[in-house]
Symmetry: C2
Subunit: 384 residues, 2 copies
Amino acid sequence: MNSDLGTTGAGSAAGHASAGQGSPTDQPPTIYDVARVAGLSIASVSRVLNGQRNPRQETRERVLRAVAELGFVPDSAARALSVRLKEVVGVVVRRPRWTESTMFADEDENLQFPDMINRGMEIVAQRHGFDLLIRSVDLDEPEAGRHIFALARKSDGLILHDRILSPEELDRLSRQIPVVTLAGEPTATTANVHGDNEGGMRALARHLIFDHGYRTLSYLAGHDGSPDSITRGRALADEAAGAGVTLLTGEEWRGSYQAAGGARAIERLIAAGVSMPRAIVCANDQSAIGVLHVLAQHGIAVPGEVAVTGFDDMPVARHLRPQLTSVRQSIQDLGATAFETVYSMIGRGPDADGSARGRDIALPTRLIRRESCGCSPASGLGTQ
Amino acid sequence: MNSDLGTTGAGSAAGHASAGQGSPTDQPPTIYDVARVAGLSIASVSRVLNGQRNPRQETRERVLRAVAELGFVPDSAARALSVRLKEVVGVVVRRPRWTESTMFADEDENLQFPDMINRGMEIVAQRHGFDLLIRSVDLDEPEAGRHIFALARKSDGLILHDRILSPEELDRLSRQIPVVTLAGEPTATTANVHGDNEGGMRALARHLIFDHGYRTLSYLAGHDGSPDSITRGRALADEAAGAGVTLLTGEEWRGSYQAAGGARAIERLIAAGVSMPRAIVCANDQSAIGVLHVLAQHGIAVPGEVAVTGFDDMPVARHLRPQLTSVRQSIQDLGATAFETVYSMIGRGPDADGSARGRDIALPTRLIRRESCGCSPASGLGTQ
DNA sequence: TGAAACTCGGAAAGCGCTTACCAAGCAACT
DNA sequence: AGTTGCTTGGTAAGCGCTTTCCGAGTTTCA
């Protein structure tokens, strides 16, 4: 078909492309349609649209008029193929196991944190004309690696929320395409963005130990092997040791970053007759929510008998009773910075000088004192 | 360059593509690399990979071996251009105005609902090998329409969370590409997916009126012109009228679907000396959170003096004090269904018979009684 | 008035894939 | 052995863009 015209490109079958109501489905107009309407070649159209070699005024106007009339928008696949830029960044989130959420929500509440980070990315991405291609992967899934490589081929860069790939896979991936990790550690070919866990946790620990005078603490960890959780735990342990304060820790104090995980851990400890420390420091706010619940169920007063703290300062933290003391990270900034970082690595060629590869970027954190640590109820709501 | 070979396609400069550690940055291997390694033509490679015309056993093996060795994954842009399928669905979320969140979170908490819907989409999308391209748009932005059309050209279909486009734009868009709306109304060329607002609200209203015997209610609406909010309000009004119960409504009872909006509205009413109805029915859970806060601040007992209800039954609803009575929609199902719907419209050609165009799909809702309506505290936590 | 220096559109190659279409190889038939 | 019919791999066109390269037209200056 359509061998009627000798040109290379297609003749774009959408004859009636002009705005109005044609058939129930119109093909989107192509650059050929625009060229035809404007009475010019597709090269001229492209040049006007991409601001190359500034074309004559009249040419420009004819093109612009035709574009407006047809509502032409270039097809991204064709453009991507040609300029080797998709204007898309892939984002990989770790999907929690469904089995986890039994006593808490059926619909999981555990993705708030990554979602907020993504929001931060998205906003700055837009300023650069980029979009985010989001994919969640199940850790157990054997094909996880392949999925991520597939995503990589749909994107110009990748942001990984969690440690999912093996070091070898990560290495191979990151030399094909810019990769930024969140809450991991940078490698020679990747950059990493994270909140200042250490500083935040130290501030929190000192507050509990010196301002409140608590002498027994515990650390309710996040899921296994999470670098964030480890760093936080280490900082806490260090402060505790320095002050000669007892810190309970270990397998029975392991949560999952989720409310259910925190609840389960405390439930077991209580059932086992373990007496609670004066303060429970949770690896994140979600865990603290679970802890708060179980404590309330057992009639244990917070912060009267046991103080509880979170980490992240999610919006929900101030809506709890008691309001949750936490360490704030600017979650959106985390995302924004992660995006800016991949972005800077993108056109920037392979191993160009300005590259962010191998860099570890820390964002500031801040202690937010509320009621659950034993501070007096702050004035009003939402106080920081 | 590389005019050395007479073939049409490129010679793919990535000479050293083989796995190991080459330069710090390798070009991802192309199908030409695979063909070379396998000693076959790119056509054969493609056929093996796409299961066409089942090739000979030996050919298949050689290709597969080469693919594995190189870690080849086809470039999506090239593939998309060729098969006219990007395997991407665009999702448009309405970004709330920043100015809104003053007394509540700086980091907005208002996106939980759309984020959970997106999660639902994402999971089923993956089963079809699709990814979601997510973009939030600011309602005030004059260019909003253009942004959406641009997104459309990066996708095979679109899911719109909110009414953002003018009817004309929506019409033009939806005849170029499959469009599904959430919480809107279907048009001749789009499908719509929504929760059964009417049924849910009627159940809630009857519970408040007949089970609890409340005789004055109010409806704290969502943002202006939201079809969901309107439908819910109408159902409530209808039930109230039928039972001869007073329903307060109107401009001063308008919220914004956000905690801050609900709080502000109630704050103003109290300041104006308006006495509260026996029960405040909020358009969604977020609004109810704001209402709960302001009521608590003013020492008004919930549900003792005033009952409060939400809608959506977000996970956070059961973590409030008192636990929030709400109407549950399976949020993830909303997303999953929306995706399945666009998906069914995608390759399905223009106006093919099986098309979902014009259809309005309603998902069931269920009343969840907790404390805030005046029911006795349910057993334990997380009870439904 | 003729040559040199520019300006500006068009033709065409190429981005990495898929997929007709073709031709070679081979088995099986008359 | 000569043809038919099938299988299978290669050739090349084409997807919708961008961009290099050319050549025709216009200006500038001797």
